[in-house]
Symmetry: C2
Subunit: 658 residues, 2 copies
């Protein structure tokens, strides 16, 4: 059977580091030549990194990227290399894929395409443009690019086994199976998919299912190459793979590390492109909707381009059977994503050292463990900052954690600072409030709680500024959702928040899938240590004591919030499934046996807190996205907003338990 | 001559306030009926406010919006009302405009259209969808909507003067003149344009020129209705207007306040739609590019829809000649935008009271004046917070400002707090740095400067939390650009930053246009007061003393930064024109006579500061956008980023002055 030898170079790229990324690509080209690969697939936008965001508006960057691709192309020989880059329409090669002008979503013309440049024999011979531009979740592709023609060009290489025609689908293009079908109809015997596909929990399985479905729909194998590493709030998880025409997994690279796969992909004989078009489907080039016909016409008519790229290698040695790396379990997957995203950010900004406040609580403990796993114990500095309402155990538990981790730990109390600022302000504020400056006529005591948190944040920032380190904040997603944190206080952080997209507790969704929470990951990490014969890092007391901000006497989180297992289920359904207040209240009544009044009040209170804390989240540090819908660029909400989600009322039917 | 009586209701809408917005629209309907308008035009998305952002993913909000439109439609009689709303394709009426499915930019189907619902005789009779979805600058329309068919439906009403056919172009649709031409070709004798078009300096003139060009291209008059008011970082400036078929201004509403225009727009006799298509232009319904033909087909074929809406009013009294409000000068325009945006935010979040630090400097002085103009003197509280390096004049100048404004002023020194925290940390940090915890082996003294700023920020936040007020930060755009501020210190702010999009000094662009800076607006505001016989609010000493952060002995801004006039010119060219480092250095050499070495070093230093402070800006409060390209959603940059803009080298040719 004819095979196409494909190398998938699952590389780490750094945004804006064009020389470094080009060197990585050149090394991949050399490796591909060594194994006599017919085709080398590298990640989407590998030469610039992804997402490059508004740097794409800068002609210098785009020019430098195209130059870097040209330089890497100069190192190609017999292997055809797919090199991801932005490309200016003014410099497109004659052949293949990106020639059409495309359209924009709006009145602004965009001269850029997101392309896989096809390099062979020392030069760029074609540039295949991405057709579908993700403009949802964290993505803004339509802001920067115009799409390539939807009509799919395909490319023929003459391998030692004979000619093989392949199609190219860039990332989002494989999420609409119709494009895979069209490429196969145009003659592709195999599809190559360069990606920069970010992680969220369950994404590796989702991605495999999606690509397998595309392979089955098109009837051809698919080779999927992802990038790896953390970039601001997103993490690319790698896990590149190959599926056969039946969608079966035949090779998979590791996750969260750079890796490569070399696979001889068996391909079926080329189909007749004309006959392959399904009855009733529109043909490429046929009449489309009455859209943009005058100003954005596709200059290409007639049958799809089939670009002959020529001869690859003359002969080659057989390969060992491909590796199929096992999938990670959900805890390992989420934890690895957080460690990768956190560590890569700190390294990429050149400050791989962090300071964090250790309160003796579960959040700061897990954050410290993540920081140590990402950066090493020498790079992590814990500070205990007991205040007037800190429990006796808080410093002891923090010290025990630090000892387990082997990190430096110091105690810098805030009690004197608190007494000084409170003394400076108490009389003034009481008088001013009484004189009508406060609508209530009194001083809101939350101000004094926040003062403690802000003095801690100020202390940590001073330590970090003095020693050229980053501050690691430790708030979790549950707190972030309901605004249970102090802006400029415990939310201070110049590193990404490692826990910011983790609910406090583990939630099992209706479909059986699991979203690990802070407690679950902490227990999992301790168990990993035990299994490896190491001391579990997180002290038992930290895992078992009730959650408390310790900003007022005998304060517990449950004074202000529902129990976390309840809160977390409500938040997940609200944030990720857009469940209405009504639906949430009904769940509490029907499934948990709550009385109607309590359910309605609880739901309305939680949703009000979420709505009213958008202004805080807007100024919080980015968090490492691990959920399907994280705060940040993934959830863009107005701050000044009169829409309230708190609309739960008494359910229409009686509760089942009544 | 036949006329169409058009009422433009330039209303204030509040995001998410559906009952309030619906009441505003119902009042506009009643007013339009009273003046026997044939057509009422209201702003884009008037029922929800704009931008609604990801609230659009919530079925409840969309359903409530459509219900609210239906309720307003029930109040319509003979006037045809255009009501802006999101609309679900599942509830589209049979007639007109939005029936086509449209496509998405990516693999995700979007069931929403951004429509002008056409209501008449008590019900919604058609829904005209926006075709072009702005996905640049602050806009994310393609994230939320699929476009309507580009083929333009047109609408006929039978007025007392006879039948008139109009087209509808929603906001962005008028920025591509081809759409206006197509609507005219389809029979439109006049175009109605509902908008939510945000302000930036010069935008009113730009908008008028653009719409006048569309009118001339299409050969028909255009009536343009904008919304008004501040929403988070953007401000809608109103200034609705009508131009005739030659693009001449015939009516204009006021800026930055709710207003209305009623105009009898003269229309030329209806052209034959078929003959009106320009030779060589594609006809609506003709073959388009090979895009999405299979999965996103336009179900409508044949000639454009002409929807007959029936009879409007039987007769009516003549109108007075239309008002043409004069344009504001640039200082008044920018100042009004800031006051509107700042005040509306504070009111919309329900906390129309602010606390701000008064340092005696120009920035905090102008911010205080803005706050007073927006919210009133009783709602503004100034706090002087002298520290160890504050000048003697700082409290005096602040006190004088407060007296001029009639606002409360208190002094809360930070010296003791600073001594306490420095005492708690100095030894620890010195020892730790010497022990290798700091890469330099020493404590970075900037940590102590930042500590002062953070204790001030903490003090202000405590005052604000205690009295249910917002904190107003006062940093300007120049400082924000180069990171010359302390994160969690002087950048603390829960109100929008009123000065955050103002450079320190006024810059005149090459085209002669002016971008007012902090000093310029301060002087303009003082002059306005003088002209009105009032005390100029900002003390002379504040206007004339050298800029200083006063965080170290004898510190001046020019110790760290180039003089502001130089800095500001560099920043403006870099940020708004994407000028390269090379171009910036050449300007300093050729036009200002700088020596090459100093020019290169200065440019590289400034651009390095801009690149390295992205992480600070990401956590800063939103600023009121008044420039063409503001920080925030208008400039989306990676934080972990290896691309450096500091690439100035010695220019290739000798400087003119050598």
């Amino acid at each position: 059977m004819t095979t196409l030898r494909v190398m998938l170079a699952q590389t780490t790229t750094r945004v804006g580091d064009l020389p470094g990324n080009a060197a990585t690509l050149a090394a991949a080209v050399a490796a591909a030549e060594r194994v006599c690969a017919d085709v080398l697939v590298t990640p989407e936008m590998a030469v610039t990194g992804y997402p490059v965001e508004d740097l794409l508006f800068e002609a210098e960057l785009v020019g430098a990227a195209m130059d870097a691709v040209t330089d890497v192309a100069a190192t190609t020989g017999r292997t055809v290399a797919l090199l991801g880059s932005p490309w200016h329409v003014g410099r497109l090669p004659d052949a293949g894929g990106a020639g059409a002008l495309g359209w924009s979503a709006d009145a602004l013309e965009r001269p850029l395409r997101n392309v896989a440049a096809l390099a062979h024999g020392g030069r760029v011979v074609a540039a295949h443009a991405k057709s579908l531009l993700p403009t949802y979740s964290v993505f803004d592709d339509a802001r920067h690019f115009a799409p390539g023609a939807r009509r799919q060009s395909v490319y023929t290489v003459r391998t030692p086994d004979g000619p093989v025609t392949f199609g190219v689908l860039i990332c989002e293009d494989v999420w609409d199976p119709a494009l895979a079908v069209e490429a196969a109809a145009a003659g592709a015997q195999v599809l190559l998919v360069p990606n920069a596909s970010p992680y969220h929990v369950g994404k590796p399985a989702l991605r495999l299912a999606q690509v397998a479905a595309a392979a089955r729909a098109a009837g051809v194998p698919v080779a999927y190459c992802n990038t790896v590493g953390g970039q601001d709030e997103v993490v690319f998880d790698g896990g590149s793979f190959v599926v056969d025409a039946d969608g079966r997994l035949v090779a998979r690279a590791r996750s969260f590390v750079a890796d490569e796969l070399v696979v001889d992909v068996p391909v079926a004989p080329r189909r007749d492109a004309d006959r392959a078009v399904e009855p009733g489907r529109a043909r490429a080039g046929a009449a489309g909707p009455a859209w943009g016909t005058d100003r954005k016409a596709d200059p290409r008519t007639g049958p799809p381009d089939v670009v002959d790229l020529g001869v690859t290698h003359a002969s080659r040695a057989p390969l060992a059977p491909p590796v199929v790396t096992p999938a990670l379990d959900v805890d390992a997957e989420v934890y690895a994503a957080i460690v990768t995203g956190f560590g890569d950010y700190c390294r990429r900004v050149g400050l791989p050292r962090v300071v964090l406040g250790l309160s003796g609580g579960i959040d700061s403990a897990l954050a410290a463990v993540v920081a140590v796993d990402a950066l090493g114990a020498d790079a992590v500095w814990g500070i205990g900052m007991p205040g007037p309402y800190s429990s006796a155990g808080s410093v002891d538990d923090a010290r025990a954690l630090a000892a387990n981790l082997g990190i430096r730990f110091d105690v810098v109390p805030i009690a004197d600072a608190y007494a000084e600022r409170r003394g400076a302000l108490d009389g003034l504020l009481t008088d001013a409030a009484a004189a009508g400056r406060s609508p209530s006529g009194t001083v809101d005591p939350v101000a004094w709680e926040n003062l403690q948190a802000r003095l801690r944040g100020t202390t940590l920032m001073t330590v970090a500024n003095a020693t050229a380190a980053l501050v690691c904040t430790t708030g979790n997603r549950s707190e972030s959702a309901v605004g249970y944190f102090t802006l400029y206080g415990d939310s201070c952080g110049t590193a990404p928040n490692p826990l910011g997209d983790l609910l406090k507790t583990t939630v099992v969704r209706r479909d059986g899938s699991v979203l690990p929470g802070v407690y679950g990951l902490a227990e999992w990490r301790n168990a990993q240590a035990s299994a490896a014969g190491q001391v579990p890092p997180i002290p038992l007391a930290t895992l078992t004591k009730p959650a408390s901000a310790e900003l007022a006497p005998d304060q517990q989180d449950t004074d202000s919030l529902p129990p976390y297992p309840v809160l977390d289920r409500l938040l997940l359904a609200f944030l990720e499934e857009h469940a209405s207040a009504q639906e949430l209240a009904r769940t509490l009544v029907d499934e948990d046996g709550w009385d109607v009044g309590t359910a309605v009040a609880t739901v309305n209170r939680v949703l009000t807190l979420v709505d009213r804390s958008e202004f805080k989240r807007r100024q919080a540090p980015v968090r490492i996205k691990v959920s399907r819908l994280a705060f940040g660029r993934d959830r863009r909400m107005p701050m000044a907003n009169h829409w309230s989600h708190a609309r739960a009322v008494v359910p229409e039917r009686e509760p089942l338990t009544a």
